[in-house]
């Protein structure tokens, strides 16, 4: 127990702002904005509809202590029925098309859909390489309506946070 506590004390809170120019400072500002706009927890259901798992690695990183998304009241939930937002990676495979539609239908209104990654957005060189074919429908918007697109292969955690923020900003 003592080494554990020592480790915690030694690590400190890495989420704190650091000198200008570092990406971590931008993260801090974004987190404040998310709370200012929403004033409550935002719940996200992540749906991998056909990714290479690269996007999932970065979505996972959102919960590391640097970005600390969950610590700021933005939660990933286990069911679309509990979600305000679907965070969908792609390209949407034919084998996941029906499951994605069902998840969308199960998400209560008003709902937001954020397409993640070049494949999910159908943009860039990689999005073109993974365009529609016999096994995929291509971009997420070809299957369900999309509000915001976060490009990148994979998008960085910072880009993901910016995209999530953009989706919840009042329009």
């Amino acid at each position: 127990m003592i080494p554990l506590l020592k480790r915690i004390l030694k690590t400190g809170i890495v989420t704190e702002p650091v000198p200008a120019g570092d990406a971590r400072r931008d993260v801090e500002r974004l987190q404040v904005e998310v709370l200012a706009i929403l004033g409550r927890a935002l719940t996200i259901r992540e749906v991998d509809a056909g990714s290479c798992n690269g996007c999932e690695l970065e979505i996972h990183a959102l919960n590391n202590p640097y970005y600390n998304l969950e610590g700021r009241g933005i939660k990933f939930v286990a069911s679309p029925r509990h979600a305000d937002m679907l965070l969908v990676t792609g390209p949407v495979t034919k084998n996941m098309e029906n499951a994605l539609k069902i998840a969308y239908d199960c998400t209560p209104d008003p709902k937001l859909v954020v397409a993640v990654g070049d494949c999910g957005c159908g943009c860039g060189e990689v999005g073109a390489l993974f365009g529609p074919n016999y096994a995929t429908c291509g971009a997420v918007e070809n299957v369900i309506p999309v509000d915001v697109r976060i490009s990148g292969c994979p998008p960085t955690p910072l880009a993901l946070m910016q995209g999530i923020l953009q989706a919840i900003k009042p329009r």
Binding site: P3, L4, R7, I8, T11, V14, E46, V47, D48, A49, G50, S51, C52, N53, G54, C55, E56, L57, E58, I59, H60, A61, N63, N64, P65, Y66, F76, A78, S79, P91, T93, K94, N95, M96, E97, N98, A99, A103, E125, V126, L129, F130, N133, Y134, A135, T136, C153, P154, T156
Partner: protein, 523 residues
């Protein structure tokens, strides 16, 4: 040359890659006999796929890669166009079962005569395209307008009093790839798990057909994002073997540096997640912090957090200057201390060890029967690592000169897979320091001209296990057929076995201890 006194004549693949031999079986009987000999010698089935050769030979071709002590033996078998059947290999190597079903879905070639002979359930085709339409046939065109109806899948049913089923997926509760798990349980106890995968099937092999080799590199880097360096290197090695190109020593060392950084990044993340799945959030926080700093240095040095598209046929795209190499040494020294400290906390945490120990066990006999490779196999005590010397096997450069120390653990449970990860991190950190200090001088890129009709097989020991990529060029120098093979093909059935002793709530922890790729095996 020949192996095991079998008649198939083999020739050695030229170049610097992992040792590979190619041979042709005259008929199905020869293939079957060779498979039996490999099995008897303690070998394994590494991969199985088919290709459409009707434009050149008038038929189809089956490719089987066997892992033998000396390296990999790739055996091809010509199949007639009218009735493309081959003898079943799943009776000898159960790992072949799903690969055979996938080969049928993709190409319409079918096994006959095995115990799995009656199992013709589709594997990759769920209902998105017609059953009589095969995407990898060159004359298949586009499927006729076809509505994507979910199909029923004939799961094996268990009867008896109190037995019931728990269906899970394809969308899982966490941030994870899709797949379906069908548990047959009594109370909490898992009697049987049957997986249904294929949800990530993106038709990558068809996208690769006809592409030029640099486009192929982009696609291959996205077979399984967490293993992008392993895939990129295996593909590059296959293309280089096919085109007679030898990358420079510096390029090879930089590739190994990226591969080891990928291994450490994934092991760090897994160790954190394993702690978390046993309700030890401290572990997740600490290891994800380490992983994030690790990825940030990747971004600084290579311009990408996961080093995607940095390993390309011919070499690598990014060179590292001495200050960058010094940063790596410094980081490795820091991590060796920090991970050691965290390991002591994990090892001394009674609650954590209570969850890890004896959970999800597989033994070495089962691992051999399932042709298991990689970290999961080494956690049963099997010394199988493409980077490590063993009798009659010399690892490819640069590992031949790095002196990789093998890591094994005999227990075969979750605790063993945790221990192997810890030890592999320490070993990779040691290797990385050695590579950074001993980086050879020279160019990082060698020009490549595609060779018409060239073939190559690349094998790389990724963090999860053995990644294979088979490449075949056409007469115009474009990719005719590329088959990437993920170690998850062999590991998924091992997971089915591992959970049988345990209860449903332990499944996430057991699953995480394997951390298999869906996308890598669904293609």
């Amino acid at each position: 040359m020949q192996f095991f006194n079998e008649p198939i004549e083999f020739t050695s693949q030229p170049g610097l890659g992992a040792p590979v031999w190619r041979g042709r079986a005259a008929d199905g009987g020869e293939l079957k006999d060779f498979a039996a000999a490999v099995h008897l010698a303690g070998g394994r089935l590494a991969a199985l796929w088919g290709s459409d050769e009707r434009q050149t030979t008038g038929g189809f071709r089956l490719h089987c890669v066997f892992g033998i002590n000396a390296g990999h033996a790739c055996v091809s078998l010509e199949l007639p166009a009218e009735d493309p059947v081959y003898p079943d290999l799943a009776g000898r190597f159960p790992a072949a079962h799903r690969m055979e079903r996938a080969a049928y879905d993709m190409l319409g070639i079918r096994q006959v005569g095995g115990p799995g002979g009656s199992d013709h359930r589709p594997w990759l085709r769920h209902g998105g395209w017609p059953a009589d339409w095969f995407p990898l046939r060159h004359d298949s065109g586009e499927p006729a307008d076809f509505s994507n109806e979910p199909t029923d899948y004939d799961f094996v049913k268990l009867g008896g009093e109190g037995a019931h089923e728990i269906p899970v997926g394809p969308i899982h509760a966490g941030i994870i790839e899709p797949g379906h798990f069908r548990f047959s349980v009594v109370g909490e106890k898992v009697l049987r798990l049957e997986q249904r995968l294929g949800y990530q099937h993106k038709g990558v092999e068809r996208r690769l057909a006809g592409a030029d080799f640099s486009t192929g590199a982009k696609l291959i880097g996205r077979i399984s994002g967490d293993s992008t360096c392993a895939y990129a290197w295996a593909y590059a090695a296959a293309v280089e073997a096919a085109c007679g190109v030898v990358p420079s020593p510096r390029a090879l060392m930089l590739r190994a540096l990226m591969l080891e950084r990928e291994r450490v990044a994934n092991h760090l993340g897994d160790l954190g997640a394993l702690g978390n799945d046993a309700a030890f959030a401290f572990g997740l926080t600490q290891f994800l912090r380490l992983k994030e700093d690790w990825l940030r240095l990747n971004a600084e040095l290579f311009g990408h957090r996961f080093m995607m598209d940095r390993i390309v046929p011919g070499g690598v795209t990014h060179d590292l200057a001495p200050p960058a190499l010094a940063r790596i040494v410094e980081q490795c020294e820091l991590y060796a201390r920090e991970v050691k400290e965290l390991r002591a906390i994990y090892d001394n945490h009674a609650g954590l060890q209570d969850r890890f120990m004896t959970l999800g066990p597989i033994d070495a006999d089962l691992a051999r029967e399932l042709s298991l490779t990689g970290m999961a196999a080494r956690a049963t005590g099997i010394l199988l690592d493409g980077r490590v010397y063993r009798q009659d096997y010399t690892p490819p450069p640069p590992y031949a000169t790095l002196g990789v120390r093998p890591v094994t653990d005999e227990r075969g449970d979750v605790a063993a897979r945790v221990a192997v990860r810890f030890d592999e991190i320490f070993e990779s950190l040691r290797l990385l320091r050695g590579m950074a200090v001993g980086m050879p001088a020279g160019e990082i890129m060698t020009a490549i001209t595609p060779v018409a009709g060239g073939v190559g097989l690349g094998v790389i020991e990724g963090w999860r296990g053995e990644v294979l990529v088979g490449v075949q060029f056409d007469a115009a120098g474009k990719l005719a057929r590329v088959h990437p093979h993920d170690p998850s093909w062999q590991c998924w059935p091992a997971l089915e076995h591992a959970v049988m002793q345990d209860i449903v709530p332990d499944f996430p922890l057991i699953n995480k201890s394997f951390n298999l790729s869906y996308s890598g095996a669904d293609l």
